[in-house]
Symmetry: C2
Subunit: 345 residues, 2 copies
DNA sequence: TTGAAAGCGCTAACAC
DNA sequence: GTGTTAGCGCTTTCAA
């Protein structure tokens, strides 16, 4: 039953031409629906196409075709399997598909070298454009590619050392809102728990946190600013330690979806989930099902991905305006965890 | 500031050769690290490469290169943004990356035409192989492609009307286990809530459900078998109706992750989450955080994706054995929701 | 309406 | 070591 013996090699356009008794160019005309072909001949060609199982080789065509577009884009995400990345991916796919463009996607895992390796792999395959959630803090290596005519859009995080179209969320404001929300509910000892310090979005959210504290005249206590967690598991130990300490906070701002989950687990373990207020950043589909339900600051991920793809295709369509920098608003949704009053010690 | 003016066109290998005062072939040797090049000349070439910002065009190379491999595979998923699909994607990426292979991914949304359109787009770009979670029930259109030497692996669901390597989970057994688990906890009226009837995995899980009931001498009541839900929202109304009916079940087997979420919401709305037992199929990262914690039958998604990619690459490496059909075990993890005893009416 | 020839950017084969 | 020639599968140009 196992076949897949190299079978006969794939038919080429020339073979189709020979079988149909037509010229190469005529087959090309039929296959590409250019018209101006005698219907009878066209039929013969179509027959040959089916009997040989001919599939045009687009790669070969792109080589000569004017414009040289491959109808392909490259997408660099933090981690394909993170819900945030996956949602961006889907939104971008939905804009690309109607245009007949397919997308390469890859995970960077916050690894600078991986960023370069993947962009290289994509560029070498001549993608028409690139959408990047960058890992590193120097994208100048992309400038020549951009100058050569490949549109590049930065998503979720802006580029460093180069200019390009950008789509980001209101991270600083979101962090501010989250923190202010907790302050308004009476908290003055609010911890910040975040991802790697180097990540732009985290830094922004932390900046918003600091601004809110400052505005409300609350001194920042660096001992309850915890960073460097990239999975639910990693946040766990530090949180337990902090919550068992002398000056534990009465509220927590968790600055990313995975960190939020880790925080919840730690609070549960200490049975503090109803004592300590919690606001998270990023959406979690089960937010309403938890107890207490999760108060979250969410990004409009679908819009972010959609806009990024639109910017890319506008450039591909020849837009020559200055770079655009879109900022997509975040929303705070109170559900319970963020409205817990501070406990009296 | 906006550049992106078509800039000078991308440099070709020939231009590099001219600038370096070397021949085309020598540049090719240097760029591909073939060795056997005078270090001095090699340096000149490298300099020319950097000054011109030369990037090899892999597509062009693949055209002539023996084997004709594009170092590219195509991945057809149900929906890129569904956690199940996203996890498969990631596992496949992790196997592909070390081989220098990048992956095209696309969503089918259970749409047969989309399946054909996307496979077509991938094949026309000469992917080296295809991994498919099929939407339709006829993949015979792929046979010629397979015969032409493109390995095709079916993942999560087997192909119809053709033979190929396959990786699936123990869906029937998983459904059986879930149902038997509920029966062992005293239930005899167990509802089944599922996705579209047409989907292979759902049908298998339902078959397992029926087998468990039969084995335990419980008559199947078709009125509490609900199908056709593809989002949490869709399941909602029917569930509310069923749970308010005369002969409502004392337990529910929810056969897919999104359906499970919809079921939980419906039970909460009726405040029945602690009265009605629930076992879900597919993983939910927050399963342990819900109240009650969710008893789930989970697939080993990472292994499924990994194995599928391995099968694909084995074929690409020339394996000519018969098709393999791997079955990856599922696991039932009791956490609370599935161990609720039946309520006395 | 049709086709022959050239060439896209690169690698293979075979010189030198 | 190095270069020359042919040619991958297709589109373009231009002539018939």
């Amino acid at each position: 039953m196992s076949d897949l013996g190299q079978g006969r090699a794939r038919a080429t356009m020339k073979e189709v031409a020979d079988l149909a008794g037509a010229s190469l160019k005529t087959v090309s005309r039929v296959v590409n629906g250019e018209g101006n072909v005698n219907p009878e001949l066209a039929n013969k060609v179509m027959d040959a196409v089916t009997t040989l199982g001919y599939r045009p080789n687009l790669q070969a065509g792109f080589l000569r075709r004017s414009g040289g577009k491959t109808q392909t884009i490259g997408l660099l995400l933090e981690n394909i399997s993170n819900p945030f990345s996956a949602a961006l991916h889907r939104a971008i796919e939905d804009v690309s598909t109607p245009r007949g463009v397919i997308v390469f996607a890859g995970s960077l895992d916050e690894d600078v070298e991986r960023e370069r390796a993947l962009t290289d792999a994509f560029i070498s395959r001549r993608v028409d454009g690139l959408i990047i959630v960058p890992a590193g803090n120097d994208q100048s290596y992309l400038a020549s590619e951009q100058a050569a005519g490949t549109p590049i859009v930065f998503l979720d995080r802006p580029p460093y050392l180069m200019e390009a179209d950008t789509v980001v969320a209101t991270n600083e404001e979101g962090g501010f809102d989250a923190t202010l929300h907790l302050i308004r509910h009476g908290h003055r000892r609010i911890a910040y728990v975040g991802d790697y310090e180097s990540i732009y979005t985290g830094a922004q959210r932390l900046a918003g946190y600091r601004r809110a504290l400052r505005q409300e005249g609350i001194a920042v206590d660096e001992s309850i600013i915890l960073q460097g967690f990239h999975s639910p598991h990693q946040a766990h130990a530090s949180l337990i330690h902090m919550m068992r300490g002398e000056n534990r906070p009465t509220a927590i701002f968790a600055s990313q979806n995975l960190v939020t989950l880790g925080t919840i687990r730690a609070l549960r373990e200490l049975n503090l989930q109803h004592q300590i207020a919690l606001v998270g950043f990023d959406d979690i589909p089960e937010a309403d099902l938890l107890d207490p339900a999760l108060t979250l600051v969410t990004q409009d991920v679908a819009t972010m991905g959609e806009r990024a793809a639109q910017l890319l295709f506008e450039r591909l369509d020849g837009r020559l305006e200055p770079f655009k920098h879109l900022v997509i608003p975040t929303t705070l949704t109170p559900r319970g965890s963020g409205e817990i009053a501070p406990i009296e010690d």
